[in-house]
């Protein structure tokens, strides 16, 4: 399988391997395994801490580790009871021992008083339909900048039309969290290619398996899971059950394997049919030899981290206009 043309630079991706696709409902995941398991980076849940929220729209993250760089995952956010939930519009580097204030964070819960407390807690990645707008609004200091987009998303789900993201993430949590069971993280997995229906929905690459393990649930449940849940709500799963024509066990095994190869071929076709992109690339930040770049194309956008032509982190997602 070839997704080289989707990565907007001349990276050497020959070291990446793909696993067998997994599918549940409308969501398909192609596991990615990177041979360069870079351990210089701290994982986002155990390594990054929400240290404080100072006024609406200002969220401070810290990397309390003595060594190890943190790459804040693109569009990470936190939810707490009785405090206004916040999310980031961009990724960032946070060195060991450093605190970083994001003054362009966005509130994802309109009309809720209180600030998030600094403590260990689970994080989410913004739902896929919000990511394009959130990325465009990076750098803009306006805590209410995403409320309209959240309202529209809530409306799509038939929920009250207001800028409260927790209406989806908390109330639908029981359904959304099943995605981490419906699709399973594999040992040593460092990334994943996501499809919704037959369309490429995102490419997520982490610098290490430990990093991706902590990113997996926020990604599959809250980012891509929300988009898949929207597709699944009208889906009628009533396909006729056609048995294999095998007349013995051996033939049955062969026919099962054949059907699986056909499905893998189908996933390959989905990838091949993804239109090639012309990306605009914009450097956001440097950390020693690391570069954080923003890429924007017609159908896809996102951010990635590279080091001398070597891809370390990527979060590229499909724009809503492409998926719908």
């Amino acid at each position: 399988m070839d997704y080289h043309q989707l990565i907007p630079s001349k990276f050497d991706l020959s070291t990446y391997r793909f696993g067998m696709p997994q599918q549940s409902g409308t969501l398909t995941v192609l596991p990615v395994f990177g041979s360069n398991n870079d351990s210089r980076f701290v994982a986002p849940l155990s390594g990054l801490k929400l240290s404080q929220v100072r006024g609406y729209g200002n969220m401070e993250l810290s990397n309390p580790a003595e060594t190890g760089i943190a790459i804040a995952p693109l569009h990470m956010g936190y939810i707490q009871d009785r405090a206004q939930n916040h999310a980031l519009c961009r990724s960032a580097f946070i060195a060991a021992g450093q605190k970083l204030m994001f003054e362009d964070a966005c509130c994802v819960q309109a009309a809720q008083g209180g600030y998030l407390e600094g403590r260990d807690q689970w994080f989410f990645i913004l739902p896929l339909p919000l990511r394009e707008e959130a990325l465009e609004l990076r750098g803009k200091e306006d805590y209410s900048k995403l409320w309209d987009a959240i309202s529209r998303l809530n409306e799509q789900f038939g929920l009250p039309n207001r800028g409260h993201l927790e209406q989806i993430l908390s109330r639908k949590r029981a359904f959304l969290t099943q995605y981490q069971s419906r699709l399973e993280l594999l040992p040593h997995q460092t990334g994943a290619v996501f499809f919704i229906g037959d369309k490429l929905a995102g490419v997520e690459i982490a610098p290490s398996a430990a990093y991706f393990q902590e990113l997996w649930m926020p990604l599959v449940c809250f980012c891509y899971g929300v988009a898949a849940m929207y597709q699944e709500k009208d889906l009628e799963v009533n396909k006729p059950l056609v048995p294999f024509s095998a007349s013995n066990l051996q033939e049955l095994r062969e026919q099962l394997n054949q059907s699986r190869l056909e499905r893998q071929e189908q996933v390959r076709n989905w990838l091949a049919q993804t239109p090639a992109e012309q990306f605009a690339i914009e450097e956001e930040e440097r950390f020693l030899s690391l570069r954080l770049q923003t890429v924007t194309g017609k159908n896809f956008a996102g951010q990635y981290v590279e080091e001398e032509g070597r891809l370390l982190y990527a979060s590229l997602f499909a724009k809503p206009g492409y998926l719908n």
Binding site: Q23, S181, E184, K239, V242, F244, A246, L249, S259, R260
Partner: protein, 456 residues
């Protein structure tokens, strides 16, 4: 593997899941129960096994009523003394644990269908005359008791005995003894109450106490199983609780030793199977779960594996995903290939113990199962859901609707799961295994419950 086939396994499942009332209308119609034919055919096939099914705690209350009716309605002609004895014991247990009004409904239904075998008469008379709340019942249900007694004794005999006991007529001791007194434990009580039933113009003085007579027995009967209100990782049975601690990293000789002990103890009271059982054990990444449920689904499935190892003469285990002992949850869920793997060795029955999340590929298991008859495979395959609580939402966790489904979340559920699995393996000595197991269980329940109906 058609779940609608009238097999013993399906009948047992029906007894566990269907609780439609046994209806006796006020007209002269016989009782109405939609599954009458099913009960009748199971009784005909093996009356002893049929009677023993009443011992299982998990069958529905209205099904017990049906069993009691069937046992009392049908003839025992041609049965050995041993079988008659078992039927008698099952009847006595049912009479003690069923609500007295339900028992009286059964008696009235027996009258409607004119069932008056000796064992029927005996059961009715012993129940009424020796009921712990006879006075109260006589006061509250006077017309019903008269109907039941007159059916059992005959109208003239019942009235004659009543008159003799109230000394309105000349007492014929032999007559009284033959018809009434030989069933009676407390002669004085019956001497007083039987005439009372036939006294004109008496008012109801009872307060319904008789309706509680079965409570002490049902409570004992039903409380044999632990069912915590708040479910945690460690109150779902000792085996899985210990496994959860092992999975959490608390590996120690003490825990290992305790685990072996709990498995031994838990397996001891479970049925045995002499055939060949294949277990597909799902140890994929999803079986780890997370939060308070972490490792719970997998631990209970591994607990099932451990007791199967003790009770199956020939067990083959095929693990999906992770490996090790106990297997670490890892990898994706390819149930279809694992099923094909175990079918190679021609087991009598296959159990798939899983959390129900199939992702390589969704629908493969269902399609393979659908293809098995065409491929010449008739082996029964059973889908066994490993859950955290009894009320888990399985909507997205039923990847093969064409398989019979069993569920378990607590160690106490293993008895039902094992029985169902063993019964699925038709013709492999399953009914012998069930008979042996249920007879032992009956003896145990009789000791624990000590029903008043068995005291002579």
């Amino acid at each position: 593997m058609d779940v609608t086939q009238p097999t013993l396994a399906n009948f047992l499942q029906h007894l566990r899941t269907t609780n439609e009332p046994f209806i006796l209308r006020r007209d002269a119609a016989p009782p109405q129960w939609s599954d009458e034919a099913w009960h009748r055919s199971n009784y005909d096939q093996n009356p002893e096994l049929y009677a023993l099914l009443a011992v299982m705690e998990t069958i529905q209350p209205w099904q017990r009523v049906r069993i009691l009716f069937q046992l009392l309605q049908r003839s025992r002609k041609g049965m050995s003394n041993e079988v008659r004895g078992t039927l008698e014991r099952a009847t006595n247990l049912l009479l003690a644990v069923l609500h007295p009004d339900q028992v009286l409904t059964v008696f009235l239904a027996l009258r409607r269908v004119r069932a008056n075998h000796k064992h029927t008469t005996k059961a009715i008379l012993k129940y009424i005359f020796n009921h712990p709340q006879f006075e109260d019942m006589a006061s509250c249900r006077r017309p019903t008791l008269m109907d039941c007694l007159e059916h059992a004794l005959g109208k003239n005999v019942a009235r004659a005995c009543s008159k003799m006991l109230s000394e309105e007529a000349t007492v014929n001791e032999a007559y009284l003894r033959r018809n009434v007194l030989r069933y009676v434990r407390n002669l004085q009580r019956v001497k007083f109450i039987l005439p009372f039933l036939y006294q004109q113009g008496t008012h109801q003085t009872g307060n319904g106490q008789y309706q509680l007579a079965h409570r002490q027995y049902t409570e004992k009967f039903e409380q044999r199983q632990e069912r915590p209100k708040t479910i945690t990782a460690t109150n779902r049975g000792d085996i899985s609780a210990t496994l959860v601690h092992l999975y959490r990293g608390g590996n120690s000789p003490d825990l290992q030793q305790a685990l072996d002990g709990y498995v031994e103890e838990g397996a001891r009271e479970l049925p045995r199977f002499e055939g060949k059982l294949a277990l597909v054990l799902d140890a994929s990444a999803s079986t780890r779960s997370y939060g308070e449920r972490e490792y719970c689904a997998l631990s209970q499935a591994v607990a099932l594996q451990r007791v199967l190892e003790k009770r199956c003469a020939n067990l083959q285990v095929q693990t999906v995903g992770g490996s090790g002992n106990p297997p670490m949850p890892e990898g994706n869920t390819d149930l279809a290939t694992a099923l094909l793997d175990v079918l190679e060795s021609e087991p009598d029955v296959v159990a798939i113990a899983t959390d129900g999340y199939e992702n390589v590929y969704p629908g493969d298991l269902e399609r393979v199962v659908e293809s098995l008859p065409g491929a010449g495979i008739q082996t029964p395959v059973v889908f066994c859901h490993s859950k955290f609580t009894s009320s888990d939402d399985l909507t997205l966790r039923r990847p093969a609707q064409n398989l019979p489904q069993l569920e378990f979340w607590h160690q106490d559920d293993f008895e039902d799961v094992l029985l169902s699995l063993f019964l699925m393996a038709n013709g492999k000595g399953a009914s012998d295994c069930l008979r042996e197991f249920l007879l032992e269980k009956l003896t145990k329940v009789e000791k624990e419950v000590a029903p008043w109906t068995t005291i002579n």
